[in-house]
């Protein structure tokens, strides 16, 4: 437990309010409890916390539910008793990502509410095209972040013509981190 960061929801947890399931008798009976767990999970609301008593830390189950958006925290009670808590991760509806299907694939994600694009693997002039496509589509709002391997000097006049600007925030051997923002709105 030392050194692990626990989820906030776990710190404020009231065990009596959890949806409880003890799989130890099911396993003792020689039955795989997975289907029963999944049925239980399907019935959970977004605020519910599922508490599973198990004879071990069920890592495969935690990975499976993690892929479905559930955070988990496992607590050893004794050598043959673990308590595992599952809660649906809080999500925020983010705007749709821009349509850049005509460009080679590159990492494109939301980071702390801001669109971020890693264009370092694209060859010129595709990084510039990706940036201008996002500006044109409007999906990035008036402020987004790009990671580049080259200083996009040929992009600047194009940005200027559209009242957009670039600010280099970092520059090192891994490339540049550049904020692209609309004029008069930053």
């Amino acid at each position: 437990m030392t050194g692990r960061i626990q989820p906030v929801w776990f710190a404020n947890l009231n065990v009596d309010e959890c949806v409880h399931m003890d799989v130890r008798p099911i396993l003792t009976g020689g039955v795989d409890p997975l289907q029963q767990i999944l049925v239980k999970v399907d019935l959970l609301s977004s605020d519910d916390i599922l508490l599973i008593d198990a004879p071990f830390d069920p890592v495969p189950l935690r990975r499976m539910l993690g892929a479905r958006g559930y955070e988990s925290n496992a607590v050893p009670i004794s050598d043959k008793h673990w308590r595992v808590f599952f809660k649906k991760q809080d999500t925020v509806d983010l705007p749709a990502l821009p349509d850049i299907s005509d460009l080679p694939p590159f990492p494109l994600y939301w980071h702390e509410g801001m669109l971020e694009m890693d264009l370092r693997k694209l060859e010129p002039p595709n990084p510039m095209i990706a940036i201008l496509k996002v500006i044109k589509g409007g999906e990035g709002g008036d402020n987004f972040m790009v990671r580049l391997i080259r200083d996009p000097i040929y992009l600047y006049p194009e940005l200027s013509e559209q009242n957009w600007y670039a600010e280099t925030l970092e520059e090192n051997e891994d490339g540049l981190k550049v904020r692209i923002y609309q004029g008069n709105k930053s």
Binding site: P125, I129, I153, Y154, Y156, P157, E158, E161, Y165, E171
Partner: protein, 425 residues
């Protein structure tokens, strides 16, 4: 704040504007000189094949004066940005201009006057200049990761440059001493290496960056560039072999490969054009598109010649299509776009924000250039087909008017750029 952010770090990667623009300026003067020379020597054009004189000088004013000068100015700036390898010292770029420009002038003068010493001295200086260019480019592209197709174009073009330089100097020596068994085959080889090996491959290679950048469209896939450069390289080798061992079918295979290479290149460019975000591309792309059409026509006309379908003026028409129709038209289009683009990078308006390219000069001058150039091309081609020198003269006048438009535009932009240099904090 905005102004300082705008070009943060960019100036260090841009050449001082005087370097690319000195090449562009000389290219534009040569552009006018080319039409003037054509006007005064129109009567001899269709009958010309080899030998020194005004027409040999005119051809080299086009190739070394306009085309190579433009290619040097553009590629020095573009490559250093694309490869992220800034030139170690700008002095070597300046040295290139100090050697190449007077060397070319001496060569053109020597060819015009038929003075062997002038030709030889000019050729040596020009060759030294081009070897400096070769060194700069090779040093810049060596070891570059990625952009394989563009790099392959550069490598092949640079190898062609070495070949054409050797042949060029040998041809000048042969004019005086006559040691070559077939001077015409060597002239053809020199022409093929210069027009298709060196200039066309550089023009095509840079198209994969410049055309998508100006049209604002995704670049064509790497496969297109690789297939095109492989086919075109094999085509040049096959044609050179065919010409020198007198086997027409080998040259025909070469022409077929060139059709594949050029066809793939044009397909890639058409896809870029179709996917563009900028819908109004203006006169530069009118010229660029006509240049592409002329490239296709040049290859088809070359195939017709190899199959024996040329009339008496067929070789002249081939030269007009290749040099003026394809390369000069295409590069003029690129220059129309690159001049305001580069100048805006070096220009600071109010608040430190670079000025809009459209605000620097009257863009109607570009229309004058496009209309003059294209009508000049059409009328000269028509004159060559009909073998009527008066028509060729009229075409030369139209071309001259067009060239004047672009030179005026360049002068206006340079004056504007000089007046609005960014203030250093």
């Amino acid at each position: 704040m905005i102004g300082t952010n705008f070009l943060s770090g960019a100036n260090s990667r841009l050449l001082p504007p005087s370097i690319p623009f000195r090449f562009f300026m000389v290219a534009m003067i040569c552009y006018m000189l080319f039409w003037v020379t054509l006007f005064f020597n129109a009567a001899d054009l269709t009958g010309y094949m080899i030998g020194s004189g005004p027409l040999l000088s005119m051809i080299h004013i086009a190739t070394l004066g306009i085309l190579t000068m433009t290619v040097i100015g553009a590629s020095l700036q573009l490559l250093s940005v694309a490869t992220r390898k800034a030139f170690r010292g700008f002095w070597i770029c300046r040295l290139l201009s100090w050697v190449y420009i007077p060397g070319f002038m001496l060569l053109a003068y020597g060819m015009f006057q038929g003075e062997h010493l002038g030709m030889m001295g000019g050729a040596i200086l020009t060759a030294i200049g081009l070897l400096i260019f070769f060194y700069l480019i090779i040093n810049n592209i060596r070891g570059v990761q990625g952009m394989a197709a563009i790099m392959a174009h550069c490598w092949t073009a640079m190898l062609s440059l070495i070949g054409l330089l050797i042949l060029g100097i040998m041809l000048i020596i042969d004019m005086e001493h006559g040691f070559m068994s077939d001077h015409l085959a060597m002239v053809l080889s020199h022409f093929i290496l210069a027009i298709f090996g060196f200039m066309s491959l550089l023009a095509m290679g840079f198209s994969y960056i410049l055309v998508p950048m100006f049209a604002l469209a995704p670049a064509p896939s790497e496969k297109i560039g690789r297939l095109s450069v492989a086919s075109n390289t094999l085509a040049i080798i096959a044609i050179l072999v065919g010409v020198n061992i007198y086997l027409n079918w080998v040259s025909l295979i070469g022409i077929f490969l060139a059709m594949v290479g050029v066809g793939v290149y044009l397909y890639g460019m058409m896809r870029v054009y179709g996917a563009r975000m900028r819908k109004r591309l203006g006169t530069p792309f009118l010229l660029i598109r006509v240049g592409w059409a002329m490239l296709g026509l040049t290859i088809i006309w070359g195939a017709a010649g190899l199959m024996g379908y040329w009339s008496e003026t067929g070789h002249t028409l081939f030269g007009v299509l290749a040099v003026v129709g394809w390369l000069l038209t295409f590069l003029t289009g690129i220059l129309q776009r690159i001049i305001p683009f580069l100048s805006s990078m070096h220009t600071s308006g109010s608040g430190g924000i670079p000025m809009l390219a459209s605000s620097m000069a009257d863009e109607r001058l570009l229309m004058v250039n496009a209309v003059g150039h294209l009508s000049g091309l059409a009328v000269v081609s028509f004159g060559v087909i009909l073998d009527i020198f008066v028509i060729i003269k009229i075409g030369a006048v139209l071309g001259f008017i067009g060239a004047s438009g672009l030179l005026c535009y360049l002068i206006t932009v340079v004056c504007h750029m000089t007046r609005n240099q960014p203030k250093t904090p």
